[in-house]
């Protein structure tokens, strides 16, 4: 058992180091030779995987932050409180990594601060830039009590706690704005984006799916944490999230298909075409399969069922974002885009970095409630080394 654990550990460590090495080399190529040498981007295809995955999906995957802070602090549903810290950590890391990815994608990253002083309020990109900037600040403040507690800094802690509610309200408003605005970005290209994905409702779709993914990511991340950090699974909380997820997915699914039908595009879904299989893959993963799973109480109430439904929702909406930003443009531009290895390496490094930072934060900061952290490892150790227990009591302090 213990030897198996070391092998697994070194295996993941090896993968991590491999991703980091490839990512660092790709970073060198990007910043020494430019975008042309490090990407498959072109005049026909100016936005690639760094925008599609790292930014669009990154922001979407971090949506648990505003969903859950609103649930706990605004709607005052206290039983969700136990999972709020890991969710804020995920969101904060997510937004930091989005900003890192932007530094790779922007042609002149040293001008990233320009929207601060050069304003064009007619630009969706300007609004997204401002919201992401402000919301990352909000998340940093929402995250700060965890760090302040760790170092027992009572005075700043008091200040942050005093402004927590206005902070949460700001966070929810900013998230609503930029999650939907990532969809609004594409409203200006009615002729270029395939009708499966171009819709006047894009902002609504992006916002609703962000909530769905926020819930799914919270389920996913709680399940993973309970597995890897030996925590007690908050099953009743996750079951409740699962029920809300059913409703959100239902609303999203109905709106999505009503919109396709109203625009007369639904029949296209039954025609052979380059986009058709990818459209079906998206709606199956994001809407139909998770709904079928979650509508069965047996599945909805089991940890495994919830976990897999959440994984499907996450994968489905990642497919959606990739379809909106890549597949949907391939027809009108007449160009097929597939990322270059350097683009994949940077994305891989950023994801690996996210996992590593999450692990470090859990190790060194009070992310999970103490009583939960103590339970399983202690129970495991009891049989083997009972005399170690007193020493472990203060291990987390």
């Amino acid at each position: 058992m213990s030897s198996l654990k070391t092998i697994r550990f070194t295996f993941w460590k090896f993968i991590f180091l491999l991703l980091m090495a490839a990512g660092l080399y790709a970073t060198f190529v990007r910043f020494s030779q430019g975008l042309g040498a490090s990407t498959h981007l072109s005049d026909q295809f100016p936005w690639g995987i760094w925008i599609s995955f790292d930014v669009l999906c990154g922001v979407m995957l971090a949506a648990g932050g505003f969903t859950l802070t609103a649930t706990v602090h605004i709607f005052n549903i206290k039983r969700m409180h136990s999972i709020i810290r890991p969710t804020i950590l995920t969101a904060f890391l997510g937004y930091v990594l989005v900003c890192v990815a932007l530094m790779y994608d922007l042609g002149k990253p040293y001008n990233i601060w320009h929207p601060l002083i050069m304003r064009n309020p007619h630009s969706v990109m300007f609004e997204v830039a401002y919201c992401v900037m402000l919301y990352t600040t909000v998340l940093a403040l929402e995250f700060s009590p965890i760090v302040l507690e760790r170092f027992n800094l009572q005075k700043p802690l008091k200040v942050v706690r005093a402004i927590l509610i206005p902070l949460v309200i700001c966070g929810v408003i900013l998230s609503t704005l930029h999650q939907s605005s990532l969809g609004t970005l594409y409203l200006i290209v009615p002729e270029k984006l395939h009708p499966f994905w171009y819709s006047p409702l894009l902002p609504v779709f992006f916002f609703l799916s962000a909530i769905a993914v926020g819930l799914a990511m919270t389920i996913f991340e709680s399940s993973m944490s309970s597995k890897h950090f030996g925590l007690q699974l908050e099953l009743p909380v996750l079951q409740e999230l699962g029920r809300v997820l059913v409703v959100v997915l239902g609303i999203y699914g109905i709106l999505r298909f009503e919109d396709l039908a109203n625009r007369g595009v639904l029949r296209l879904a039954f025609h052979r075409g380059y986009e058709t299989p990818l459209f079906w893959l998206e709606v199956l993963l994001a809407i139909f399969l998770p709904l079928i799973l979650l509508l069965q109480p047996r599945v909805r109430n089991s940890p495994t069922g919830l976990y897999w439904a959440a994984v499907l929702v996450v994968l489905g909406f990642i497919t959606n974002r990739m379809n909106v930003s890549i597949t949907g443009f391939e027809g009108s531009t007449g160009v097929r885009y597939f990322p270059k290895w350097t683009e994949l390496a940077v994305t891989g490094m950023i994801i690996a970095g996210g996992f590593a930072l999450f692990g470090l934060a859990v190790k060194y900061l009070p992310i999970f409630p103490k009583e939960h952290l103590a339970q399983e490892p202690v129970a495991e150790l009891k049989d083997e080394v009972p005399e170690a227990l007193p020493a472990l009591e203060h291990a987390g302090d």
Partner: protein, 257 residues
Amino acid sequence: MSKALLYDSTVCIGCKQCEQACADQNKLPYNDSVASEDRQSDHKLTVVLTRGDKFMRRLCMNCQEPSCASVCPVGALKKTAIGPVTYDASRCMGCRYCMVACPFSVPKYEWGKLFPKVQKCTMCPDRVSAGKQTACAEICPTGATKFGERDELIAEARQRIHDNPGKYVDHIYGLEEVGGTSVLLLSAVPFEAFGYPSGVSKDPLPILTYRVLSHIPDFVPLGGVVLGGIWWITHRREEVALAEGSTPGNDRNGRKQ
């Protein structure tokens, strides 16, 4: 009054002197190999296309209400009152939203450079504001590319179509496309043959995003009050429950009582 270009492809002889003049004006290299390239790029801002015995220019349309200027977060792209859509590289941060948004896919990027900028025809803003013609119009030996007041050029284009029945496609490209452009085109063959999109909206595209964006100033205070109100109600409930001595919060099953 805004200036414009009228390009009549039936008068064009395909000499490509406009390509040369444009390159010189924008300090870009021009030689036989560049001349043979048949699409716009970071080093070729206008191109004369040949299909059989027909010619057609491609260049930035310098729209009346340009998508690129509307989407640029830092205002690097701007529509001037006199006509040209200009670009200020020192503002640009390289997000490339202009390239995605342009209905004619005009803006090009210097992919090969470490500190790249966007490249597009800007309708010679320095020349135009100094009262001169654009470089391409000045050099044109046949008058195929003509510079002038937009209104006058529209009237002239209509006259040419009217006076020569059957010679032209009955369409002035750029008169209504995306709300009108500062480049107007006449052709004997459909414009799609040269890559000009046919189903372009007659309305300016920036309205599509602005319709959504313009709600934000209303949404922010409203959202704040609604969320604050919900917070007030949910927490007041808790206070009342406490005061009445019943157990607030959660029971054993994690449900609210």
